[in-house]
C-alpha cells in the first residue's frame, strides 16, 4: 500500500508544509516572474494568500507546489514583473 501521508490522520507539520493537500493541485494558471523587472518591494510576498512567494535574492518568485493561481500577485505588483500563464490542459 502506497500512502501519501506519513500520518494516521489529517495532521501536518511544517516540514511537509502545513497542509496535507498541496494547494497548487487546483491551479489553472500560474504566475511567471520576470526577475529583471522586479524592484524587490516584497508586496507580492505580503499579499499572496497561500504565503508561497519567497525572496530569491535577485527577485521574488512563487513556489508552484502551493501557488493556487489566484493572480493577486499580478494585481498587486507595481512593476508589472509578474504575468499569469494558463496551465496546460486547463
Amino acid at each position: 500500500m502506497r500512502f501519501h501521508s506519513p500520518f494516521e490522520g489529517p495532521w501536518a507539520d511544517p516540514e511537509a508544509g502545513l497542509f496535507s493537500v498541496r494547494s497548487g493541485d487546483w491551479r489553472q494558471q500560474r504566475p511567471v516572474a520576470n526577475g529583471a523587472r522586479c524592484c524587490r518591494c516584497g508586496l507580492c510576498f505580503l499579499y499572496c494568500p497561500t504565503g508561497c512567494i519567497s525572496d530569491r535574492v535577485t527577485h521574488f518568485e512563487a513556489e508552484l507546489e502551493f501557488c493556487k493561481g489566484c493572480g493577486l500577485c499580478v494585481y498587486i505588483c507595481p512593476a508589472a514583473a509578474i504575468a499569469m500563464r494558463a496551465e496546460e490542459g486547463c
Binding site: 490522520g9 489529517p10 493537500v21
Partner: protein, 408 residues
Amino acid sequence: MAAPAYLPQGAQPADGLAPRLLDGNKAAAYGVLLCRPDLIAAYPITPQTPLLEQLYKFKADGRLTAETVEVEGENSALSAALGVTVAGGRAFTATSSMGLTFMYDAYLFASGTRVPVVMVIAMREQTAPTTVSCGQQDLMMVKEGGWVQLVCESCQEILDSILVAYRLAEDPQVQLPVNVCYEGYYLSHLSEPVTVPAQEAVDRFLLPVRDKRRPVLGTEHPMTFGTYVVGELYAEYRYKHCQAMERAGGMLDAIDGEFRAALGRPYGGAVEAYRAEDAEFLMVTMGSAAGTLKVVVDELRKEGIAAGLARVRMFRPLPARELLGLMRGKRAVGVVDRSVSFGWNRGHLFIDVKAVAQDLEPRIPVVSFIGGLAGTDLRRDLLAGAARTTWERGRGRAGAEVIWLGLE
C-alpha cells in the same frame, strides 16, 4: 476463595481494598480521577450531571489537579477536550442524549482527526417524545461516528472501563476516541459495591500521557490537526481509520489481560460469554439488562433448557468474529435492544447480529426483542418470555422477527 457476586467471574481483588457503595456516575468520576486528566470540560445534562458534580467536588477537595472548564454548551465541551488532547494532554468529557446531538460535528471531527479523547455517554432516550429517561437511543444515533464504543453492565465495570478507554485510545496502534457508555438511572444513579483501585495500581496499567509517542501540537513543533483534504488522501485517511478500528477490536482482549494482571478483574474481552459454550440457543444484549438475563439463563438451566448469553461490551468496532464463534452451533439467537432503528423497525444490535449470522451454515432464526424504552424495566418475566420464545424458534416454531416486550 470465590469472588463476591458483584465482581465479574474469576475476579480476585488484587489490591485488597474494600469495596464501597457507589452509583455509576460516582464510579465514573473515580475512574477519571485515577486517570490523572489534564482537563475536564463538560456541560451538565441529565442523567450525566452527578458525574460532573463529583468531579468538581474532587477538584474543590484538592484531589483532582485537572483544569475544569465550565463551557457554554456540549459542542464547546468536546472541542476544548480535543484541543487539549492534540496538545498532548489527557482530557475528559461526558454527555447524554440531546447534549450528544449538540456536539455532533465535534464528535465526527474527533474520530476523523484521530484524537484519543475519552467521553462518557450516560445513555438516555433521544427526543421526541421528550423524556429524560434511560434508553440506548442516543448511542445509536452516533454508532457510525467512528468512535470506539464500550458499553458497561455494572458500576464496577464503568470505573474499570474508563481506565481501559484511555489505555486503548492512546495506544499508538489505535489513536481513536473512545466512548464509555452506561444506561441512565439503572447504572448512573443506582448504587453497587465498587472497588476503587489504588492509584499505584492504575499508574502501572495506564502510563502518564506524556510517555506516549504521538504527534502533538506545541510551540516547539507546530502542527495542524484536521487539515483540508481532497481525493486520494481522503480515502487514505478513511482506510487508516478503518484499519485502526480493526486493531482496536483485537487490542481490547490484550488490554483485558493487562488489566487483569494489574487490577485483578477480567471482563472477557469484547464479548462476555455467559454459559454460552454448551447452550442450545443464545441471547445477545448489551448494558445493564445483561444482569437480569444472566438470572434468566440460570433459571432456565434449572428447568433443563440450555440457555446462554453473549453480552456485547464493545459495540464499535463490532466484535463480529467473537459473535460468530458464539452463535455457531446454536439453534436460534434472540437479541434484546433498548433502542429502535427506524427503517429496519428492529433493534440496532439486532441488525448487527443478523448481519453476522449470515455467515452461519445452516441459517438460524434471529429474533429482535425491543424493550426497556424510556426507563421501563426490562423485568425478569419479560426477558424470560423473550428467552423462551427464542428457544421455541430454535425448535421450529414460526413467528414474527420483531417483538416489542410488554407491548405485544
